[in-house]
Amino acid sequence: MELFLQRLIDGLAVGAIYASLALGLVIIYRSSGLINFAQGEMAMFTTYLAWMLVDNGLSVWLATSAAMVFGFVLGVLVERLLIAQFSGPKESPLAIVIVTIGLFLFFNGLAPWIWGTEGKSFPNLFGTGSVDLGGVTIKVQTLGIVGVLLAEVVLFYLMFQHTKLGLSLRAVASNRESSRLVGLRVGSILAVGWGIAAMVGALSGTFVASRIDLTQNLMQVVLIYAFAAATLGGFDSPVGAVVGGIIIGVVEQMAQYVDLFDGFTLLPVFLLILVVLLVRPQGLFGRAEVSRV
């Protein structure tokens, strides 16, 4: 039983990390209809920047906050300098897919060129302590990650539903031409969307780096899980990204607990996704088109 709870809570924490990166994917998909394959690599890059700050004696909290600011700036720059240049009405959406894959390779090559290929260790945001809850030992780090994700979700909800920025992000996602007609500066809003996405990505990057060595391949597996999370939850739903991430994290950990899959813990995860998509192709929380003409 203790082990079960242990695995469950571990699953929540791992899921929270997937969810965080998936949130970034969903924000970009919702506002611009694009999938950013470089989401993970941008997070890896900003995590290196945070690592440099820690290496120079800055506290982990400050370095993580700085990484999020870097992330925001990086996201805005990538959108303005690259993505926007390929987003004209005559450009094929495939061009942007290729651009983001190019970015993936760019950051993946740039990081070892700057920082070398040797793994770095990134300190843990919440220390190494643990608490005892009714016989179950839980790392403070685990609780911290789950707590940060919850805060992230609440902030996102408030931002999307109750601020003018959130409204304009939803508007641009819904109808770009009408957005311009009511006066939205679509370009700037898309850039802010990319900034926010890279910002939450940066946060998930530092979390991953506190669990495994920081190398240029830090986020590759996580990105795949994040894609799975967004697909499961529905690519246009921030709530879906979070729930999808948590489900995947928990199922993966539970598969280790029941030990039926001979180490192939991904198998039940993808079986689950397959079943959900067969029943609900738009994902758990994704919206099927509602319209009457």
Binding site: S168, A171, S174, R180, L181, G183, S291, R292, V293
Partner: protein, 235 residues
């Protein structure tokens, strides 16, 4: 000086020239209709005024040249465009659609204006939390008009509000447009195929054929005109 002065307006989609030098004006507070058949260039005319497509020629709004400016800047000058097909934010709520209409205005005014338009269009008030795309065509057309009016425009461009609506609903939409025009003094430039109803609320009209204005006059004159009656009124 008129509110909107257009002279020598040309527009093209790539190599296809659609407008061949239009001249027309809209005065403060009046309703003007541009009549034309499918493909005459009605939608293109409005799109070139609101900056949605590139244009050649002179467009003056309130005396200032606006040809070549972006839609997001033109709306700030006080010209709102209800595009063809209404341009509803389908998956957003009715309330969010109205808030977006007031995007360029201070928040305090937006709340006030929303309350006002909910009073004018009570059906929208009933459906304020519903996704706009789930409403009927007529309701969506009302929403599109209310959304455009949220920016307190001096000129409202309206692209075929009758399109795809049942005759009774069309009548209601036109009545509402006339009412809004009278109450708020917002000038309206309407492009339509439905000459009957449009001429009923307009003070002046132009007839657009193959990208050129071939006739103009007061709404009364045009509804008496033999050629117009045959071509657009089905008589």
């Amino acid at each position: 000086m008129s509110l909107l002065e257009v002279s020598g307006l040309h527009a093209a989609y790539g190599p296809v020239r659609v407008l061949h030098g239009l001249d027309f004006v809209v005065d403060e507070g009046e309703i003007v209709v541009i009549l034309g058949a499918n493909g005459a260039g009605k939608t293109t005319t409005l799109r070139s005024l609101s900056g949605t497509i590139p244009v050649d020629g002179e467009v003056r709004f309130d005396g200032a040249p606006i040809a070549g400016r972006k839609p997001e800047d033109i709306v700030r000058l006080g010209m709102a465009h209800v595009p063809q097909g209404r341009g509803t934010f389908m998956d957003l709520s009715v309330d969010d659609n109205l808030r977006l209409g007031g995007y360029t205005r201070p928040v305090s005014e937006v709340e006030e204006d929303k309350a006002h338009w909910y009073e004018v269009f009570p059906r929208l008030a009933e459906r304020r939390d519903q996704a706009a795309g789930s409403m009927s065509g007529g309701e969506q057309q009302m929403l599109a008009v209310a959304r455009a009016l949220m920016c307190r425009p001096r000129l409202l461009l309206c692209d075929e509000p009758s399109l795809g609506l049942a005759p009774l609903v069309v009548r209601e939409v036109f009545e509402r447009l006339a009412e809004v025009n009278q109450r708020s003094g917002t000038a309206v430039l309407l492009v339509e195929q439905n000459a009957n109803l449009a001429l009923g609320i307009a003070s002046r009209a132009y007839v657009l054929e193959n990208g050129s204005i071939v006739m103009s006059g007061s709404a009364d004159e045009l509804s008496e005109d033999e050629a117009i009656r045959r071509a657009y009124l089905g008589m």
